[in-house]
Amino acid sequence: MNDLRPLETELLAAVANATDEPALEAVRVAALGRNGSISALLKTLGTMSAEARKEQGPRINGLKDRVTAAIAARRDALKELALDQRLNTETLDVTLPVPEPPAEVGRVHPISQVVDELTAIFADMGFAVAEGPDIETDDYNFTKLNFAEGHPARDMHDTFYFNPKPDGSRLLLRTHTSPVQIRTMLAQKPPIRVIIPGRTYRSDSDQTHTPMFHQVEGLVIDKSSHLGHLKWILQEFCKAFFEVDQVKMRFRPSFFPFTEPSLEVDIQCRRDKGETRFGEGDDWMEILGCGMVHPNVLRNCGLDPDEYQGFAWGLGIDRIAMLKYGMPDLRPFFEADVRWLSHYGFRPLDFPTLAGGLSG
């Protein structure tokens, strides 16, 4: 019987030398294919005597198994090699920047953010949000709020008017959010607990005044709410809004036609390099006006001032936004400068909540 070893050596060498899949396949076909060298050997088994077959069978099959295993191992190795080679060519410059996430680029205006903050604080105290039209009647903006015709208190408001109607009446742009107090009291029975944010207008324009600005008003009407409750609400509000543990407030008597008694409220602060810190320092800063709703206003809304009582307060949204977030000037609020909006605006997902923090 001829020696199989040279064939084995030759085949294993061919397997080892195959540098790619087709070459390996050629080796396999040459050895194990129909006309392959090992197949030819296997075919000889049929012609052998039982004895010779018994001897040669295991030898030839052993050769076949070893060569098959070698081919499989080589195939795996070549596959790995090919993958490595492919991967070597498949490179990216991953330092290339991806587009900025839109939700990180977009901004909500500070006024919107502050309105949402106010809503969160006051909703927690049981307040709803009321709104009203910008174009108002003289009656709602002044008369029903106890501004007497011709009284100098009307001069405190530089009012934008529309042209007179044929009947002599003329509409105006509301000078404060207070006409919504009237609308609310006329529309619903007490108890009333609302805040009223909105745009307001005065024909006044200089460094610190713009012809349009934003106010928020609060109104409580029931049968028992008094000045002490008002003080408490405003204290709680200031602490929550300015996100400080303590805030010292000073209530000064003042005058508004629609409240009696009327108060102005200062908060203690420290001014430092354009930043205002609350709850420390020894400056006072006026932030809001408030008072008990004037009996004439209650009467004008069909409420008996001996039965119903309550209070109202109002403050500038733009102003408290400036105080909290440190914008030095009011005018840029309305100039839509992309640089300002990007800097002072709020990311859309920074939604103010009491649980997660107001300023995001």
Binding site: E100, P152, Y201, S225, W232, Q309, A336
Partner: protein
Amino acid sequence: MKLTLAWLKEHLDTEAPLAAIVDRLTMIGLEVENVADRGKMLAPFTIARVISAEQHPNADRLRVCMVDTGAGDPVQVVCGAPNARAGMKGVFVPPGAFIPGKNMTLGIGKIRGVESRGMLVSEFELQISDDHEGIIDLPQDAPVGANYAAWVGLDDPVIEINLTPNRADCAGVSGIARDLAAAEMGKLRDRSVQPVKGDFPCPVKVTLDFGPTPSLCPAFALRLIRGVRNGPSPTWLQQRLSAIGLRPINALVDITNFITYDRGRPLHVFDAAKVHGNLTVRRARDGETLVALDGKRYSLDPSMCVIADESGVESLAGIMGGESTGCSEATTDVLIESALWDPVNIAQTGRKLGVQSDARYRFERGVDPAFMLPGLELATAMVLELCGGKPSEVTVAGTPEVPARMIDFPLDELPRLTGLQVDRREIERVLGRLGFAISDAGKHLKVTVPSWRADVEGKADLAEEIVRILGVDRVPATPFDRGEAPRKPVLTPIQLRTRKAKRALAARGMLEAVTWSFLAKRQAELFGGGEPELALANPIASDLSDMRPSLIPGLVAAAQNNADHGIANVSLFEIGQVFRGDRPQDQLTAASGVRRGLAKATGIGRHWSAPASEVDAFDAKADAIAVLAAAGAPVAALQVLPGGPSWFHPGRSGTIQIGPQTVLGHFGELHPRALEALDAEGPLVAFEVMLEKIPEPKAKATRARPALELSLFQPVERDFAFVVDRAVNAADVLRAAQSADRKLITNVAVFDVYEGVGIEPGKKSIAISVTLQPREKTLTDAEIDAVAGKIVAEVGKRTRGALRG
């Protein structure tokens, strides 16, 4: 309202320091706006004598002075003033002192080699006048070493109060003193006025003549003083007036100004020699004019009240006298007027004529009617004292009497309104000191309001008086119970839509702007507005004259503004009010946005990952759909039709609606003409949707979602490409395909649109993919082919589209 501390002390006996008084004023509602304490500022400045003044060795214009400061050895001072000379008396300040006019602290210096240990100062350097010609040159009797400010009377602190319009009584020093006395800051001095007996009847008669019209003058008192010597008023009076910023004129005029501030009682003096005949108080006649004391000519009309003599109008009642009858140093006979005027009329006249005066300030707030005559008597006494003369009797037309107001004040009103519990004696003490008379009626006080407090009308006003004087600090902060009300959402649907819409647009990379609610009429008209009822009668500027019909012009202007600053790729949005008319229901909430340049919805500006492309109508469409979806609009029901309002590009804009009755908004490229009119350059796209137009979703009983149905069978997707006319809308192709089998077809999407080589001109290819979702069994090829055939047939029927070959 301004006053000085010394002036206050003439009415208030107090030892309280300035700071305490100022603080208390603010805390009782008389807010101190400013305190100018010149005594404090000028404390280091003393009177000194120049012993010698020698020429400076190294400088022609300087002198070396030896100065006797009254304290120790003479001091060497180098001085450049032309009037510095030996023997003069001036004002000296040592090193270490702050020089207000130079805004610096003085040091010891060497000036051209000669040491200078102080400074002789000018009035300008003290900031007491603009005079910087030379150093202060004092009379020889000035006491060396004395404090200059005290000696000259400049050490009296000036207090400026921001007086609220209700407090007419505190437009005089006496009223402020009364409030302070009530607030325990001292004792009110008795400054009551004694009448002066007249020597002869007043020769000038006064008639109130308002005919059938309402009277504008309840009372008018007049008195003549003959033989006065008018001239400069005494130093104390001049100092009082100068300190509060009034220019001393002559004694007669200064007396009226003094009483205006001292008692809140404006008066007027006429030079009797210049008054012709008797006086009539009446409405002005059309065409009448008056040259007032401010030198300006005012045109009058019958809404205004005047004082006229036989030759015409001589004074604008309660506001300002006439120039021709004013008092000068030549005046020998003076008529003094003390009158009452209708406050509303004074305010209206003052506003109409644009004239402000100390008299108007007080009369429009309402002066004390009971002090009309005492005011005249006080003026008489002062004129007699300062100018001599013989007074006539007082002639009075009308009556100054006003019935006293009584208020029934239940003792529990104070705690009811303020939460403040105080002893009734405390209430009585406060009200008593403020001049209210109180009579007891058990649990009620009967309170009589003093004549000077017309602002106190009812119980709430009395509560304010008490809490104001006792201090709001005494009101305990009381926790406010939110009660049993359920914790329901408090926002209305439109409020919710607004807040969601804002965050949705910001999440698309847009910046929220807040722009003016008004714009130029031209722009309003261009965007469908400009109605006359939405034009302001008194706009602040011509480009802010009309209420905006749309947010787009403001946003376009803002985008252009940014572009002009070098930021060309801008995406802005605003959610705010637009105006369709002047009724409340005409005010709508628009959500609008603009994108400019390369500010695409997919990213702003150029990026390596894709070729740069300019914004197009589809960016605006995507924004519009996104904001509608966020605000709760039923997206599947939205229809988009080609075209929009006139300010959009006719072929590159669309209208979003839910049926023709419910138009939600528009999007697209702006019309080139609109851009041009706004002085803006494209590429620029915009959208505007109306949040109120979104239909209200039906209220649901529970929050549970409908059950999720998941099919067991795989969906099948088939692609089709149709060639249609260019004018055919993709939406029609989609709708046609969908209608082939509404149950089986769950989605139809456009994945390609092609025009060009291989497609006949005037046509386009629209490729769609259709998803079939079997529910009961897997579809056979025959079933799928049947549906595909129906799709082709439907599209062919409705759009005349044919499968692309």
